[in-house]
């Protein structure tokens, strides 16, 4: 029961702040609501006993990427951005996409309705004693089971990083 309450609280926070992120006029307010949405998602991870994912979400997204976002937002001229009209071109496309997404989610709920014993999906926390230690499990799958894909992905990221540095560097 408490699990349900916690889940729906976090989920509501995540959804509401995600909506607020795209509707606020002020960019800094948007950033704050994006941080809230990310933190609420981290909370859901924690509730699912995925504590490593929880802390990675906080360190990388909230503590790393969002700090850079806010940093850049403060460097740009906010007044200019506020005056400009937004949602100018993608109105119909985005409506279409969100309708399709809503249809998919609705279909999921509709089909799960007929399954025995459950109308709504039940959100129960994972049993804590049956899981292996979280960070160890992540390390096992990253560095043993999927070592090659992981290394390829990291090389890709490195290339992207070097490319960004080269493009940003002033030619003298």
């Amino acid at each position: 029961m408490l699990d349900q309450v916690i889940f729906y609280t976090f989920a509501a926070i995540a959804v509401i702040s995600a909506i607020l992120t795209v509707t606020r006029r002020n960019v800094v307010h948007s950033a704050i609501f994006l941080i809230t949405a990310l933190l609420a998602t981290a909370g859901i991870f924690l509730q699912l006993r995925a504590e490593f994912l929880f802390i990675v979400q906080i360190i990388l997204y909230v503590g790393g990427i969002m700090v850079l976002f806010v940093f850049v937002i403060m460097l740009v001229n906010l007044d200019e951005a506020v005056r400009q009209m937004r949602f100018a071109r993608q109105k119909w496309v985005s409506l279409l996409v969100s309708l399709a997404l809503a249809a998919q989610v609705g279909l999921m709920f509709w089909s799960s309705r007929k399954m025995p014993g459950q109308g709504m999906p039940k959100f129960v926390a994972a049993p804590v004693d049956k899981l292996p230690a979280n960070s160890e499990a992540v390390a096992q799958s990253l560095f043993q089971t999927y070592l090659l894909p992981f290394e390829i992905a990291s090389v890709l990221l490195l290339v992207a990083m070097i490319g960004a540095v080269v493009m940003a560097k002033k030619r003298t």
Binding site: M1, L2, V5, N26, V28, H29, I32, I35, E51, F52, F54, I55, I58, I59, V62, G63, G64, M66, V67, L68, V70, F71, M74, L75, A133, N134, S135
Partner: protein, 447 residues
């Protein structure tokens, strides 16, 4: 509804001890922070051959309480052009992140709020890094140039030094083989050596980076009063300002605790496995009795009667602490709590020494210029920490090959650390050679 109440009651029943602990931390920490400020002022006065605060209470011992009352009854000013909501939110965010990080720390084996969490030290580091939003948003919301520049500096500085600090932590974690705080300290007990000695370069990197992360002098550029009034705190006053202050001092305690846990043996006494040094267990109560005796001696010299009474009260408090510390050594019934009580003493002692070192640096070194700070971070500390992780890893593999454990690992890690230091210095020197005038002449966009 019934179910929710029932579940909440069960929750409280199961977790009453951590709940009480966290309440205690939230209640006590402002007082502790206040007294750290007093100690800082006293040390500063001592180093500058002054007396420091002397008026409120004997030797200024009640100064923090007077300061707190002053801050609480000050007028609360919000600038007209400020973003009210964010202005309100920012200091709260700062202090909440700092207090939340305290939950993951272990003050001795017995006192830990979130017991044995698998991600232990990552939780502390990650959550305490959220405090930066308090600074950045506060600086932005006050709608003032000084505040904004302070906030920008702060975020740039934190992002730069977070990398070095993280890499330094990785080095310690390599030796520990776990993120769990209890296992980290246990690993230091098993190997019989502090990881700070095994990886001195990592410890040094973390030390420097943690000073930069807590915005302490000589890296206190975000609040450089000679250039920016008070940096991001310029527009804040009264209670909001004191929240920022509380967050800053809590962060100091947090980084000191992380360094103590990972590099200085946590709650272990020095040389925990050397049996002939067991008499060190008697040191804590004896030290407290010594402090109490000193207070008794000073009592007749106090000018006012109230101050004499207060001095006696301090002496009594020290004696009480000494009794608590001596109890597990003398009373058999308290024996099971031996590690918990004495461990807390050693942990707090190490954290205090670390914070003392911070203060010592603050009163010794002049403030850096902002581009110098950035250069130190990016051109020296980050290469140093990355190379250090690399060579320490190699040193550990070599150590495993020769079956070296504990103190014997020093044979491989010390040369590795020296190599890392030399390579990093070489990189720094070559950077400076390639752009000799540019480094000093180039104006920095946010300096």
């Amino acid at each position: 509804m019934q179910g929710v109440i029932q579940a909440t009651m069960d929750f409280v029943k199961q977790y009453w001890a951590p709940l009480v602990c966290s309440l205690a931390i939230v209640a006590i920490l402002p007082l502790v922070a206040g007294y750290i400020v007093l100690v800082e002022r006293k040390i500063m006065a001592d180093m500058q051959a002054r007396l420091g605060p002397m008026r409120v209470g004997p030797h200024g011992l009640l100064q923090p309480i007077a300061d707190a009352v002053k801050l609480l009854i000050k007028e609360d000013i919000i600038p007209d052009e400020a973003d009210k909501l964010v202005f309100w939110l920012a200091p709260v965010l700062s202090v909440a992140a700092a207090l939340l990080a305290m939950a993951g720390l272990a003050i001795g084996p017995a006192f830990q709020i979130a017991k044995d969490i698998n991600i232990g030290i990552l939780f502390v580091v990650g959550v305490s890094a959220l405090g930066i939003f308090g600074i950045v948003l506060g600086g932005w919301a006050s709608n003032s140039h000084y505040s904004l520049i302070g906030a920008l500096r702060s975020s740039a500085q934190l992002v730069s030094y977070e990398t070095a600090a993280g890499m330094a932590l990785v080095c310690g974690l390599l030796f520990a083989g776990s993120l769990n705080i209890t296992s980290i300290v246990q690993a230091q007990y098993d190997q019989g050596i502090w990881f700070g000695l095994l990886a001195p370069v990592a410890f040094f990197t973390y030390l420097v980076a943690s000073i930069a992360e807590t915005n302490r002098a000589p890296f206190d550029l975000p609040e450089a009063e000679s250039e920016l009034v008070a940096g991001y705190m310029t527009e804040f006053s009264g209670f909001r300002w004191s929240l920022y202050f509380l967050a800053e001092y809590t962060n100091m305690i947090v980084v000191a605790s992380v360094a103590t846990t990972l590099f200085l043996g946590g709650w272990l006494r020095p040389f925990p496995r050397t049996t002939w040094l067991n008499f060190l267990d008697f040191l804590p109560p004896l030290a407290m009795i010594g402090v109490a005796a000193y207070c008794f001696m000073r009592t007749p010299k106090q000018p006012a009667r109230v101050q004499q009474m207060f001095m006696l009260a301090v002496a009594g408090l020290c004696l009480a602490v000494a009794l608590v510390l001596a109890a597990p050594l003398v009373v058999p019934a308290v024996k099971p709590f031996h590690d918990g009580i004495l461990g807390a003493f050693w942990f707090i002692l190490k954290v205090s020494l670390y914070i003392y070192f911070f203060m010592w640096l603050r009163f010794t070194l002049p403030r850096y210029r902002f581009d110098q700070l950035m250069r130190l971070g990016w051109h020296f500390l980050i290469p140093l920490s990355i190379i250090n992780v690399l060579v320490i890893g190699i040193a550990m593999i070599v150590g495993q090959y020769f079956n070296l454990t504990g103190g014997a690992l020093l044979l491989t890690t010390i040369p590795a650390s020296i190599i890392a230091l030399i390579v990093a210095l070489f990189i720094l020197a070559s950077e400076q050679k390639s752009e000799p005038q540019k480094a000093s002449a180039a104006p920095d966009s946010y300096a």
